[in-house]
Amino acid sequence: MASSDDDEGEIAIDSVTNYQFRNSQNAPISFSILPLHWNNNDHEQAIENGESSVALLGMADGGLQSVYTEVIGWKVELSYAVPEVYMLSKGKKWIKLQKPRKCYGDVIRSVLIVIRCLHFAKRNVHATRNDIWSHLQKTLRSFSHDLVESLENCLSAHLPLIRSAVAKDKDLAKSKRFLWKLRILGLGEEKLFMRNFSLSFALKDKRTSNKSKFIASDDDDENDEDFDDESEDPFDSVCAFCDNGGDVLICEGQCLRSFHPTVDAGVETCCESLGFKNAAEYEAIETYLCDNCKHQKHQCFVCGLLGSSDKSSAVEVFPCASATCGHFYHPKCVANSLYPSDKILAKQLKSQIAAGESFTCPIHKCRSCQQGENKDEYELQFAICRRCPEAYHRKCLPKEIAFDDSADGTIQQSAWDGLLPKRILMYCMKHTIIPSIATPKRDHLLFPFFEWKRDQEGSRRYMMVERRSKSFGNLKGQDTKKMPMEIERRYSTVAYGDTPPVKGKSSTMHKMRSSFDDNKSISGNLERPSNKIRSKPPYKDTHREQRFTSKPVEKTVVSALPKVDADMKTRILKLMEDSASSFDAEEFIKEKKRRCTSEIYTPQYGLDKTITMGKVEASVKAVKAAVKILEDGGSIEDAKAVCEPNILNQLIRWRNKLNVFLAPFLHGARYTPFGRHFTKADKLKEIVDRLHWYVEDGDTIVDFCCGSNDFSCFMKEKLDTMGKRCKFKNYDLFTPQKTFNFEKRDWFSVPVEALPDGSRLVMGLNPPFGVRASLANKFINHALKFKPKLIILIVPKETKRLDRKIPPYDLIWEDCGMLSDKSFYLPGSLDTKAQPLDDWNVKPPPLSLWSRPDWTAKHIQVAEKHSHIVHQKQNEPHTLDGVVDMDLSSDLGPVASSTNPLCNQPSYLGQSSGFVPPHDATTSVQYGNYGPGIGYTQSGQHANYGFPGSTFYHGQPNYGYPGSTYYYGQQPNSAYPPSSSIHLQGPTSTIHSRPDFTSMGTTPPNHRYNSN
């Protein structure tokens, strides 16, 4: 079928321009999915998978001839001045690709970028990474104008291509820097660099054209903070076999090591890896324990021999006390190494360690100057040998340990920057670097219970060559999983053939690891990663209905009484598998993830797997040990050697992450409401009582995130009694109980045309806040598109103020105290006494009313008429000026300037027990809500601001009632312990220092006016 019926167009064509590729569904597709060939001959054995055909469409002969041919493979030629890509047609002819069709360019952009990258690296073996970037920037710019999506994505998306290129191409393999650059792909610093690069590029790009759609624009200000977070991780994530970064599996145990799980993951360094066959296999393991940790037999870092670290039996090797170290030592070895010249001290130390006293190993002191490490100071960062306990300061590093190969080839590079967090990765002079693998001989790891089949260097090299070709071979097939795995392992006992190849379907099943997903298929318990893993038939707890309805329909009649026979088993298993595979786990996860608001806490798979038990234990232990050292009068230096300062923050970060992950468990009841909190009905009534004065007949009231939809209902009630006829519109993502004028819709998807003109619009209320008010800002921004005459908001103080927007809105009033206390509740959740859970904010979000400038004068009038604004002429003349300015100005300039000076000194004046005019029916309710009446009776005026001398919470004086523990006592919240000292900050301190303030107790009840 291959060549006979190929069309005649095939003959003359050797290059195609204006090309594109389509699959059998006629959808555009990248040629990179086809098998890659590295020379012209090996297509003979290429797997001919005619079914999933890819067609090449384009023009040949300068546009005279149109081409349509099926292609089955491709190759790339990097030797020429310009990289060339050839396609292998079904007729076994190579066709050179020239220019892609314009609209198709997007599809193959990333692979072209990678090819460019490889090409440059090959031709410039000594190029630094900066060279590569600048080259890319140049060539790619000429290539197309909107091309640079995140380079990082490009590179990581085509890692197999890069790896196979490196494995195949001698020049590339020599291009050390390129290699290392790729190695550190995935490590903090480099990532940061790349990210900066692509971002800055993207920004430039945006200016020239609006097409840079690849960079997420809407939330890019939120997900940045994660980065410095990660780069501060004091634990290294470098493979213990080959000392390279990348995709590693972290051991959960005490050794704190990482390993490349698959040969593929470590292919750049020819890592022997743990020998997993594919990602699915190790991803299915919840917690990976390396053989050493599993059997509690660890190597002594000095002598390299295994010893028992099992505390329940005779311990032979002891772990170093340092939090990030993870090395074990024989007491004798480490004592001798710490005191090489002093036998007596060494002996003493030896017995101390053997008795279980904690010690820090030699790598926490510089070999040459005996001083400790300081990661924050560049010169005092450590270079630690990966093979033996040797460490130097950057400044003390012997010259022989070089960061570069010397030109004459006499010195091999033996130190690398950027691989370890704030440390140098190095091999000390005792180890000879083998140039081909850029590490010393890799015979340093010893696992228990396995005969160590140690080859001489020659045979190892042979093995590597073989592995290399195998891993390359994987790429030739379309699917790595199909390759029979016969990679030679060190364990002579291991044979791979005993595991049947996993079917394609199952791999997706194995990938499900998200916390969203309650279905995880697990591989059997691992004793040895090498040969014990067997994938279970993928099984997902099938759709529930199956339990009730689905019974396999079978026409054949069995005469005997049915038994569960093999046939039935396979049939049912098949059924289950089918049903499981119809469920696309990745898609599901992606879909759910879209809805997550907090990017920071949505690690890729459930919980961050880097938080291992070993690390946590070691860190906590180290913290305690460090405290003990200090208490015993030890030096800070010693303590820092045990527990570097970073660990403390790392612990807090971990705790936060775990807290988020475990939140449903820790605060079960709070999880019913989808993380929402609603304003309590009585508060809403208060707001309605105040707001309704501003609403006019015929207005439309929009609640953009209506929650329970109570607000609109109350509003309607009130307005009906006032005789105002208004329309209502309520949006939310979740259908509320009261569906009064409700539309289930994401606020951001509401188009401007959907609502009446802005001068008829009153909108706002309590949007979700998001991280640092990011969501609130988004809601407001969308609301502003409608140009409503009034916006009422309950948003946190961090929210960008509307008078700083363009065009700015004017603040009519702001009430910071109204929503203090338990003004919110968690819908749908109950505490143990079956009462709805209250919610409160440590910093109560202010309620504020904003007006479109052309309506400001009118609204101010209303506000004054109903005493929503306080005039405090006698006390705060400046403020009043501001108010007057604002009142009168329809012109924006003066408003802005008059508000500015007030920003930092809000005039919280005259806020008294009565927010609401006395006639209001809800007053008593409201008082009740404010808890013990002392606050009012004692000094009646500033109940929300705390009394001088009362207890405050973390500088949040708004909570400072005398005896305010009353509020918290109900629900102890360890995050906000009562602080005994008074933190008066910002505006409040001003208030308290003003002597005449307290005399204002007689001020009539008024709404507070705050002009900032």
Partner: protein, 197 residues
Amino acid sequence: MGQSAEEEYAAFEEKVKRTIYVDNLSPQVTKAVLENALNQFGNVTDVQFIPNYFKSCCVYAALVEMESTKQAAEIIREMSDSPLMISGMPRPVRAQEAKIEMFDDRPKKRQREIKCYWMNPSHKNFEVAKKIKDLTKKHATEATYLMELQLANEEKLHHQQSDTLKSNYKKYELIDGAQTDGTVRRLAARYGTKLNE
């Protein structure tokens, strides 16, 4: 009487349409909790827990009757859109339409009357009846087997989830312990580093 039975059945069918079946419930979920959780989206009129046949897994199911069919459909949509956790770990609750078979107390459908009698092997329909009988048995075996498999999987999943939870909680406790007893803060104070709590 026939009339009323028919009516009763129609009313029951209405009720089924108004009802949703929720499962993966945590054992801590009580009627009040469930009611309250679902009241966010509509009005719950009745909650009926279904006895748990999967003892080992500790997940429960319930039938929740809503005020209207529309509300029921709405809830199912909401809950499949976003994972709703009721009373915490380990799983989000799932919802689907209730089916008639789920009700223990379903009324008899009038039209269907089942009569049992012995059949003579020489009867012309004997073979047919036998076939049907065997098929039914076969289906039953298959269903049992399927259930077994599902149960085993369910159990495995449950163990896995609780193991993950346990180990993570242990980590949390470890860190939390060091933090709440002030060790971390003390050390930070000695180091002079600022904690970004």
